[in-house]
Amino acid sequence: MAFRVLVIDDSPAMRTLIRRVIDVSGLEADEVFEASDGQEALELLEREWVDVILTDINMPRMNGEEFVRRVAEAGLTRSIPIIVISTDGTVVRREHLKELGIRGYLVKPFQPEELKEQIEKVLGVPDA
């Protein structure tokens, strides 16, 4: 199943790692877009369609929580699943983001298989 994914993280190293995990996991990503914060991601979404968004929380300019809120306000969280990837595993943050409509939450450090499973799950891949 081919798909287009947007990776949002202010760390170029983490974006590279996620791109590599997607590459080696066997997931057939047609295109992997990158943004370094929520604002850049919103601008990208104005001109590109993606099937799934992977976002960090702690970022300068616009953090992941604000980004999810903006996407939810635009009514896009039902059509574009969002998976949060963060070191922040606190209950309060998870619950708040779930209320905003995120579909997955992956806490760093994670195993490559965990990211693959989350992506397959939100994309509705059979047997995921």
């Binding site: 202010d10 760390s11 170029p12 190293a13 983490m14 590279t16 790692l17 590599r20 702690n58 300068p60 953090n63 963060s86 070191t87 922040d88 595993g89 606190t90 209950v91 309060v92 943050r93 806490v107 760093k108 450090p109 994670f110 195993q111």
Partner: protein
Amino acid sequence: MLEIRGGVENTGEVLTQAAQEILERMFFLTAEEAAPDPGAGVAGAAPTLVFEVSFHGAHNGRLRLKVPERCAGELAANFLGILNLGQLGPEQIAEVLRELTNMTCGTTLSRLAPQAVFNLDPPVLLTAKPDVNFPALARRLQNGNDCIDLYWHWDDPGLEGAT
């Protein structure tokens, strides 16, 4: 003020476990706990890189991470899946170590205070010679001849027992 799970004296153990788990899962490196840096500061004889991240929220504080330059290159190569260390530039290495610092701090906070909300500043590479009197809880992880030193400091006066 929110309670620290297991008490503030639990900080060192949680910090060590978080760092070991991150190194193992994302950097493919096994590190054993060793006796802390006897200098208790961050100035070392061998060339090292020192990174710092500050956090704010239910509690405030900082984490510093000191890594020998040679070990930093190896960590970056493992993280990025690069076989040839020569392909890595200093900025790439610094980016990976910033992420390691960020993950270690965030994971530690999440485990110490899962009911709290924290915000982390972007980690920075300390270019000036770090102060050796930085009051901190020190932990050391060892892999072969390389040591990764961690220094945790709570700004909150009520938590100073951990430093």
